[in-house]
Amino acid sequence: MNAKRKLRVATVSLAGCFGCHTSFLDIDERFFELLEHIEFDRSPLTDVKHCGPCDIGLVEGGACNAENVHVLREFRERCKILVAVGACAINGGLPAQRNHLDLGGVLLEVYQTGHALDRERALIPNDPELPLLLDKVRPIREIVQVDHYLCGCPPSADAIWKFLTDLLGGATPYLPYPLRHFD
């Protein structure tokens, strides 16, 4: 395997909690083994700010604002294989709990009744630097085409490892039952 070109991998967290990234790091010392076969592009582990041409893109989290949509499209464009990692990317996950609430109304209500707020300075953030929110938290497949789904909240480190080593070995990734069995 050594003579082969290293595969370039990008990872990103959209509206996620970083738990899927944590689980990725939970491959522990196998991380060093992985580094013999891959190199990182944009990822919370590097300072690359925009995803370049990549072989694999791992996306954690759904899309909750316009910026998430933008980054996600960039990933789709530049990654040959795009993977939805974890419940949030696959179906919105826990942040999608806000979907049954009316966003505008809820924001206003909470903003006015929030506990222990400085009432005189409970002003409404309004700045061009803040990305606009989507009405609902969206699974990423509603925005781009997804090639693989890795279930779990988060998927276990063993599942992520099996998935990646399958891909690296040129096989179609397959997770046996124990790796798809949760809690």
Partner: protein, 488 residues
Amino acid sequence: MAHELETAAEPQKLRRIAIDPISRVEGHGKITLLMDDDGHVQQARLHIVEFRGFEKFVQGRPYWEAPVMVQRLCGICPVSHQIAAAKALDHVVGAVPPPPSAEKMRRLMHYGQIVQSHALHFFLLSSPDLLFGFDAELDRRNIVAVAERYPEVARRGVALRRWGQEVIRHTSGKRVHGTGAVPGGINKLLSASERDALLAEADQMISWSKAAVELAQKLAAANEREFAQFGFFRSSLMSLVRSDGGFEFYDGLLRGRDEEGAILFDGVRDQEYDKLITEEVKSWSYMKFPYLRARGREEGWYKVGPLARVQNCDFMPTPLAEAERRAFVAAAEGKINHAPLAYHWTRMIEMLHAAELIRELLDDPDLLRGETMGSGPRGRSGVGIIEAPRGTLIHHYEVGDDDLITMCNLIVSTTHNNQAMNEAVREVARRDLDGRRITEGLLNHVEVVIRAFDPCLSCATHALGKMPLILELVAPDGARIDRKVRNA
């Protein structure tokens, strides 16, 4: 001085530079700088650009769901949120304190969390800046390059993190988003084989933690002047301490010191936090700005986390960490050390302390047997405060007679540091960037100072309490469906 460079007079005339996203931190944030024609910085801001709404959507859910819901605020420190929520809800089920075995299991879990989170931050995220320099080429500033050049440092970091995660797995069932801490106690004791597996590596981990303190100290000493001045600002400090003034991660009383080290308040009970602290909102960030009511908006901000904790306590109750704390205090010559980069050194002292605490606790037979759940008179509300890896974490819930949550207020560690991080960014912008040609390496300086705080911008984006004035409905293809403009 506190709010200089926060807002430029005529922003439209200035050139905008954005560091977006801030990398090698957890969560979503960006920094914007506005420069005039002469290259002087006129405005510098740290923006938190996402919000998710946890405080709102846990309302209406049964209280026992809260610990497993709120831990999804943050996959780096889920244990902190789980335990803070469980502690708050101990008041609701009348189990204050929970049985000794339950408290000890929670403590063990929490100490594991400190080790894994501090190891992740120091070795995997920040060490490239410290080992290769702030201006190092972009492709060297990551753990991969550290693993090539300093394999032992990288391997120890990964091993320490693994051990901390294993402590969490054995106490909560899973490494990420387990279920160990529940309102009133815990749902799992430790087995003898789990204990032995953790004990087998304990001494090694303590000695590697000690070596990590020495490494952090050595890196600081090698560049003493720069470390002392970089991003320097003064502020007051806040953390929990034990009732005897000892260092504490899990449960204690709130203490604050002013910039000189004089006690501002002490012995404040967790249930009273809202008498002490209030939060301001600023238009340009989704993260609120807490401050001490007694000192007011301008003066009342403070910092939390390792640098605050290690200097706020009177002693650390384990021998190796206490020796390192003394060395740290001695190096500051009796003054409070406010240098942001000193966060790294104190963070490693804390990791050593947590490793020692784990070692000590693993010998306690209460982990293997005893009551797991307590109960008592039913309460309607509760506050849980712990010292999470990044600082003081506050959870507050009110629960109705139907067991459903009616109110939730969270002040997470990183939020307490909001003003402090903004200050540090402005300080670096003023000192390192002002009047110079801005290069990529120079921009990393600004990120280096943010990283020192180990911000978890993921945690900090939970709040649904502030809104943009313009609401747009955007279809998945990007087309705008609806747009509402709300006048303030």
